[in-house]
Symmetry: C2
Subunit: 288 residues, 2 copies
Amino acid sequence: LKSSLECFPCFLQQALRAADRFAPSAAVKERIVMSVLKQLQAFDRNRTSPEMGAFINRTAREAVGVADLYAAEKRHSNRRVTAMLPKLQEIIVASPNPFETAVKAAIAGNLIDFTAPGGDVTTPLETLFEKAMAKPLMQLSGDAVSRLQTAAKSARNILYLMDNAGEIAADRLLIEMLPRGRVTAVVRGGPIANDALKEDALSVGIDEVAEIIDSGLALPGTLLHQCSDSFRSRFDEADVVISKGQGNFETLDFIPGKLFFLFVTKCVTVANYIGCDMGELIVSDRLK
Amino acid sequence: LKSSLECFPCFLQQALRAADRFAPSAAVKERIVMSVLKQLQAFDRNRTSPEMGAFINRTAREAVGVADLYAAEKRHSNRRVTAMLPKLQEIIVASPNPFETAVKAAIAGNLIDFTAPGGDVTTPLETLFEKAMAKPLMQLSGDAVSRLQTAAKSARNILYLMDNAGEIAADRLLIEMLPRGRVTAVVRGGPIANDALKEDALSVGIDEVAEIIDSGLALPGTLLHQCSDSFRSRFDEADVVISKGQGNFETLDFIPGKLFFLFVTKCVTVANYIGCDMGELIVSDRLK
């Protein structure tokens, strides 16, 4: 999904939010925002929003001189969602369709976001989950959830593209409902926003339910041509790819077949593209 | 009131809104937005937001090749509010404090805005007025309304700085409660957003209750050093200046004495500066 002029105010908002949060002085804040402004002038809009997102994050990181700006938030989110797992597990087991409810819990986790315009950083995580679990799933192409369930049953290799820290604890619940021993969980190749890294995946015990690899890319999305060769072969070999988050959707939405997108719509441009509101819990595939 | 980095996303939003509305092609839209983006790089933030607002409007106007983009809206607003005057007049007369109610009606008119971030272009004008009339006035410095009433009684020259078309019809109700023959109404010196020009003032009959002059400046505010000499002497001679709208506040808020600001807060930066919410009906003076 190409970015557009409509994304520009939001890019500046992201820069301002990061600068307000992390810049130690007005001069550093100025440097971050003006640097993003300059980059916008040259930005090729055939490229995707997550690429600009990565630039904004890198700019803030370098200006502030901290390698991983959201390290503390990530640890905090991992702990908080881990503590919710027993309750979520109970809800899943008690529900009429446990697989669908696990999908919903995994998407609810996607609400944890410290940089996207639709990311809610003020509501307690417990409330975020509670509200999300009460919402209906929006399946864009008929019964995508049951198609995912069927495809996963016969798949030899399932690739699970993870998104944010915290969220990955809820992802674990869904992975546990997929065929044992066939899931590979993919984290980012380096610090970017509050996206999950290998240490996050380990801290919520993803290694107990899946192999963990990284994409080779420090970007809030999965741009295949920039990912590592080893990740790309895993992607090619996979029978089913579960893609979490809007950033992965924006960078992979043109890839036909085998992909299932699970995410919350976090900006008006993507919501309009899909034809839904902000904050919807989306499940979409291309196996129509 | 100086602008700030926080204004930048909003400037881009204004450019996008104008471009979406008026650009006949994607190429023209692109030209408008990229031109504003470039200007932001060079923008001296000791300057006020209305100066950038004027640049955005001028850029859109020149790219589209139309001298007055909002001409139709302005005529429409003038007609619609004129049709509401008998009802508003009734409310004023029946109220416990007619002068204060007239002030409120004049501020309610300030909600008519086609370019500001807080401008509401979808709600019918009648509903906008109804809601605003039901809200309390926010007097920033004690009883500013009664100080205005007292100051006006003994003033020889009252300058009334008008803001938007449509709004000026409601302004007429307030002018009618000021000493007859002592009020000069000031419109903009050229087309800018939906701000009132001389033709608008005439169309709602301001000439029947006040002398009409212009500021010599096509800007959504009153930057004294850029206004015409003749306006500046009128400003200096005035005993009381009633300043309508946020743009006039942003450009005149540093002037001590004799000014009474009547406006709706339309952006977060100004609301924070004042210490109130967006959409409040503000009355403020410096005669503390």
